[in-house]
Symmetry: C2
Amino acid sequence: MNPSAVSDEFRRALERAGWRCTRQRAAVYDYLRSVDCHPTADEVFHAVQGRIPHIGLGTVYKALDALADAGLVVKIPDPAGRARFDARTEPHYHFRCLRTGRLLDLPAEALPDLLDRLRRDGFRVTACRLEVLGFTPGDDAPPPPGGGPT
Amino acid sequence: MNPSAVSDEFRRALERAGWRCTRQRAAVYDYLRSVDCHPTADEVFHAVQGRIPHIGLGTVYKALDALADAGLVVKIPDPAGRARFDARTEPHYHFRCLRTGRLLDLPAEALPDLLDRLRRDGFRVTACRLEVLGFTPGDDAPPPPGGGPT
DNA sequence: GTATCTGCAAATTTTTTGCCAGTAG
DNA sequence: CTACTGGCAAAAAATTTGCAGATAC
């Protein structure tokens, strides 16, 4: 696809993971970068139809998979059943509204301060969930080139 | 159902939320309390069939909903698409294995120490996700009796 | 030129729902 | 007794898959 339309960083991240740089993947990624919420696959689909009218929902799912595999996007599971997607790469936290399901970004700062500020701003905080991701002993991933212990 | 077969605490938590205490709900809850992993609805279904052979998967889903509504279990969304359920009520963290999808309990202790200990024990940690749950300003839940600001 | 990708639709998987007999309170 | 439930099967919702023509490199 047109090399000038996408950033080199985007293209290289895809190619590093063995994926090709296509118009559909760029459109999905650009949309996720342009919003500050965390859309579902279906929301991405409808938004991207403005740029690529004939795109299919299946293609959006495949694009999100490829982007996630390339580390450009993170898939966030949702208690309501449809996953949400986040194109912010720097570490940060999330606030989930139990009424609307909306997911907001929070800065990655120390917890007591963060929670106090949320409460002062009118948020009601009912719980926190912390999940550590990785591999249990023995279930280690195949070491990515240059990534493992040497 | 037979009052002596279930704890009063269990019965009261259900009744407080307007649910009846039934054999099926008790079996689902007992099973979740008896394991230290966090089963999917289908795993709960198969396990509970040992005690209630004619139970249906739909009933298990309904029971899990009732238990979650009563605050006896927590539904944990899963990137692989099927939710997992946790009957531990005290605050704690989770470790998710990216290879097997297994979800382990972690003690709710200070982060740098916890991560160091995991690494020493052979875990490979690749990321952390923190989610704050609650209500955005204006989207407040109907205040539970005695729960809201007075 | 060739392996990968898209679009489309069908298939799969997970969860929810409707209904009527059965049960808890 | 009476409303709430359980079992069952059908439906809905979310995601994945298969394939033939199109595209990236």
